[in-house]
Amino acid sequence: MLSRSILGDYFAMLRHWAWLLVTIAVIFGTTAYVVSDHQPRVYQASTTILVDEAKANADYQSTLLDERRAQTYAQLLTTEQLLTTVIQKLGLHMTTRQLGSMVAVKVVRDTQLIMLQVRDTDPQRAARLANTLATTLADQTQNTRASRFGISKDSLQQQMSGLDKQIHQTEASLAQAQTNNDKAKQDQLQASLTQYRSIYANLLQNDVQLQLAEAQSSSSISQADPAIADTRPVAPRIAYNALIAAILGVVLAAGSVLLKESLDDSVKNPEALSVALGLPILGLIARIDRTKRSGLIVVEQPRSPVSEAFRVLRTNFQFTGVDRPIRTLLVTSPSQDEGKSTLCANIAAVLAQSGQQVMLVDGDLRRPTQHKLFELTNRSGLSELFKQPLSELENVIRRTSIKGVSLVTAGAIPPNPAELIGSEKMRGILQQLQTQADIVLIDTPPVTPVTDAVVLAQRVDGVVLVVRSDVTKMSACQQAVAQLQHVGANVIGLVINDISPRRARYEYAYRGYYNAYYGSHNKRRLQLPSWLSRKHQQTGTQVQVQPISALRDSPLKGKSSQHQ
């Protein structure tokens, strides 16, 4: 019936823990949201700087060169010197390191553009910083150029003025030589003068060229796109952070759950337990709401799914005794606190409800509880019988509030329960009790801590092992079954107790009730409180049958069903 894949098991597990995953995700997400929300808002201003050598012959080579130059300028933007200048210009109170961390520079690939981004908590200041950085860079570059040209121009001017002086001297000497009529000197001076003049012409040409170059280089750095203050913050990214944190939370929680479940040895899957122990499951009992309950649930709430589960248990139990009717049944559990006594009392009640005379014996001489469940005193009971003749048995059998259920309480707690339980007297008591009822049901201490149950198990027709879902360890179950079977006890099956509603819904859809009635189609329904919903809901449908003639005229559909 239930061969489930491993993947299916994981899904069931995750669905089972879905509440935890959702909670963790919400906590993580909310925390990230709040933290991000408290972070100062950061605004970004960006500007684009164009590095352009305004040359007449703009060939590919020079463009490549410009790109490399753009890299250089990009580096220049974050130099100490430039940043200091900008801080001074804007009169800011910050270190160059601080400013440097706010500035991001990037050369746009395959272009001569530099992208300059400034992040600041003040959008206006971010824009101002970006613009000032760009203009300062442009100014400085301009200045560097200008000063370099200035030196060249100065030396050229010096040379020219020196040459000019020499030309004037030579012309004066020539005029003197003409008056003296010194022909040789005249020729010599004439040649020098020609030479000087040609040098001067060259220098003059250089000067023009220099001026031209200077004019061309003036526009090499310019702001292509001035920064504008953007009032939309770029950080923190609140929704993004919250989402990432929530996803992280889910992943972490899922990981922890998988780890926890893989390390957890407790019984989670009844079918797996049944296969591992080679024992049938007689009943699956859901968790009983202890706050509302007084008395036994099969008596107090016979219509409840839990009571129904007990009746299923009764039916299954009747099937197991087909060949060899079970007149004495021992109820025990692998370890403590598995709800075996309450379960035992409910089984007694549900058996009695089917018309059987049930003798319930509290064989737990260590921690007796049956008298509490049936609200009786524990003055005289089983332990007293060991000191008295068997004929006294009649006096310890108590009638209970439940028709068909008689109870032998445990009596005073003896020092040697295991010895008493294993005595010949006990065998006699059991035989005697069988004559008084259709079935004798014995509640005993758990199997693994003490030997009482194992000792008694040899003397009864059948043993039922109660296992508490999510609590009892698989290893404890295996040990208990091994111990019981070792002494030849007839372990007829398992009862899984205290199944949580969530597990019942997702995993143990055995009888279909949890899944069907409280799971699938009502899962998405919002349950209104009863005082609120009573006003609005129409419960029950009353059908008034129309005469056949009326029925023929208008089909039953939608017409004849009226609401109260």
Binding site: R303, N522, T539, G540, Q542, V543, Q544, V545, P547, P555
Partner: protein, 181 residues
């Protein structure tokens, strides 16, 4: 005394078997018992009050011209059970639960299959496919078809018994009073 025969169908959640039985029985009554008005209702032993019928069930009964879209689940109560001549449940479990909790109406509670001369549980198709619901609807239809006369007879008998009992009681009272006088 109210002369309208009253039948209550009971299942677990009041979302599938009992509403189907209610609808089918209304059709039967309309066909066979012309002129007489029946009171036919349904309830569940353990319901989520106000739940509506699952889609599968609605689709399956539409094929039989039954409309359960406005049906809402409700739970049985002592007052409700007492107001019917006959309470027909789907399973022996439900009968046992009702008998235990409401012993005073125990004699009115019967298995639906008993009406047709059998004694078995009508299975719960709530988790199944539309096919399963159809099969259960078919089964209920068969049971009601062969059990209709018996159901009607049961109600008549019950009425007569009650009338008889009332008459007898009145008689006894009269005798007693006359003797005293």
């Amino acid at each position: 005394m109210n002369t309208t025969p009253a039948v209550l169908f009971v299942c677990t959640a009041n979302l599938c078997r009992s509403p189907i039985a209610m609808g089918l029985f209304a059709q039967q009554a309309g066909k066979r018992d012309q002129g007489r008005v029946w009171r036919i209702e349904s309830a569940g032993t353990w319901t989520v009050e106000g739940s509506s019928v699952p889609r599968n069930v609605q689709l399956a009964v539409e094929e039989r011209s039954i409309d359960l879209r406005h049906h809402r689940a409700r739970t049985v109560s002592r007052a409700l059970l007492q107001s019917f001549d006959l309470v027909l449940v789907m399973t022996a479990d439900q009968r046992e639960a009702l008998e235990l909790e409401f012993p005073e109406v125990a004699s009115n509670v019967h298995l639906l299959s008993e009406m047709a001369g059998y004694k078995y549980d009508v299975p719960d198709p709530i988790n199944g496919s539309i096919k399963d619901v159809r099969m259960v609807a078919h089964e209920i239809a068969l049971l009601l078809n062969s059990g209709f006369e018996w159901i009607a007879q049961q109600i008549v008998n019950r009425r007569e018994q009650t009338t008889h009992l009332v008459a007898k009681t009145e008689q006894v009272l009269k005798v007693n009073t006359s003797q005293e006088w």
